[in-house]
Symmetry: C2
Subunit: 333 residues, 2 copies
Amino acid sequence: MSASLRQVAERAGVSIRTVSNVVSGFALVAPETRARVQAAIDELQYRPNAAARHLRGGRSGLVALAIPEIASPYFGELAGLLVDEAQKRSWMLLVQQTGGDADHERRLLDGVRGQVVDGLVLSPWALSPQDLRRRPDAVPLVLLGEQDADGLLDHVAVDSVAAARDATAHLIAQGRTRIAAIGPQPHLENGTAARRVEGYRAALAEAGLPADPRLEIPVERLHREDGADAMRRLLEAGPEIDAVFCFSDQLALGAMQTALRHGRTIPGDLAVVGFDDIEDGRYATPALTTISPDKAAIAREAVGCLADRLDGDPAAPARRIVIPHHLIVRDSA
Amino acid sequence: MSASLRQVAERAGVSIRTVSNVVSGFALVAPETRARVQAAIDELQYRPNAAARHLRGGRSGLVALAIPEIASPYFGELAGLLVDEAQKRSWMLLVQQTGGDADHERRLLDGVRGQVVDGLVLSPWALSPQDLRRRPDAVPLVLLGEQDADGLLDHVAVDSVAAARDATAHLIAQGRTRIAAIGPQPHLENGTAARRVEGYRAALAEAGLPADPRLEIPVERLHREDGADAMRRLLEAGPEIDAVFCFSDQLALGAMQTALRHGRTIPGDLAVVGFDDIEDGRYATPALTTISPDKAAIAREAVGCLADRLDGDPAAPARRIVIPHHLIVRDSA
DNA sequence: AACGTGGCATGCCACGTTGCAATAGCTGCC
DNA sequence: GGCAGCTATTGCAACGTGGCATGCCACGTT
């Protein structure tokens, strides 16, 4: 067991309170006393006890990140940025995986086990807007992704409609006319996929291209495997295509592999655009053209939101923070 | 603020202690009392206070994972498995990034800030064996990767010498004779890269092939970028090669992109084998042949080690756990 | 009737910290 | 000389929980 304030106090011949004052940097401590206390602290290798501070002060110094899965490159990259951003504010990051399970997400909303954390960054997957709204007052919460909870919960996200429109418009500008979309998720309440469909259709409409439902390929999840599978279905079903917009880079990478194996050339026969700008895409062959959300900004704003609620007004009106994005043109389209 | 034992006790008309007994599942509580207490718990939505339990019991229910960077696919996949494994034992996982910085790693060794965690899983990068040995008694620690701290600290790792030999031997079996190695890190104390060099050379020697120092390409880090850069140097320096063994899949993916851009075909002109079996490699084009460490086993054993020290003998002799690996042959070699 | 036993419930304390209020010592000023 | 005003230090209480010891009661045994 590590040394406590009491032991340091005995060693330095002062009261516990004075040691506490030295540790917390309180000004009214005589330089000579401070030095003596500091010496005792160093000798005993005193370190403040986090549990006691947490109990006394109500702050644990922990923030939870709840995402479907950390192994996903997009979430991995985001988690890295969040860890750094949290560290800037002397927080540590706890990772929770929901596996995209609604019950699991609901439980997290109700409060990470025993209020261990000071705040929660949640990337919901399966939760409905009602679920999000019906929430007991617990720790501050920030949602990642666009959610239909405006006015009630803070959230941080790119404008998916605009981003999807940009991606599709780029394909159109390259002269593509038979553009598929891989990634709709009609089985989920989560609105992100729906918004990307909306942007995709809007771009087609703006260019006067017809919307063909056979070109909208739904997926169960957003893994490479799902992208590969979707491309297989698309190629086997037979509608002619010359481009595909995938709702995530992982879907795009899976789709590209399948297309290449089926003998299509990229971008010759088929142009591909992804979404997320994960590092994989940058080093894929061909390198993946993609929508790049400003992930550092997402991390910064999400942590900033929590900080504002913790240090500022916890009941301030909910904010909807829109993160900039831009199209990165590489080899695939 | 959430309800406390005291409030539940008042509500149920019993003592705090009795509520505590109900919560902790202590047997000697009359069924009728238990029911009344349970009702009060439900009404008040009582949840045990983690801070108080931590202070009282000395256990936080948290385990830290300290790795160079979570955004790295290998560590991302591993972190996901560790989160799950920790959850099985009702632990939550805290992620710390060292950025491969020796000072940062040292500080973590000295104890994650204020003993917030019950255990630490550390994947050292820059620490020397001396650093690892000189460590005050703190929370239980498990090292990932082969470290020269045998007998003093638990560690969990694949047999890198054997794995590198397997990879190289596979290339030789394919008829390759000019086999480069991308990944040595002579500037680091960390012994993993050195062991992979050793296995690589051993396989060459066993096949009677000469070891050519010009074919061993050192890298600063293990990113795709470093692999791409290494391949560039290799191709520009001119030694003839027909295969390359990369010490990580990320290096391999970067190297493959560069080789393809330089007009080499894979596996025709150049066979490539990686190490780690990250999902990227599976969906790369060509799909990457690689050494696959049993990551689930790493996670299981690492968490198991911590559990054994926490629930068993903290002073038991250090264990060296060797994780199985196998070669997965795909398209690249 | 006294005693022992076992089931059930309770009170006290300590874990290490910090907010609050109070105290002790000192200086300077009328 | 006394008092205000300041600096430096201290004691007490409380955060919510669980270990320990003990109290209380009913019932069965001697």
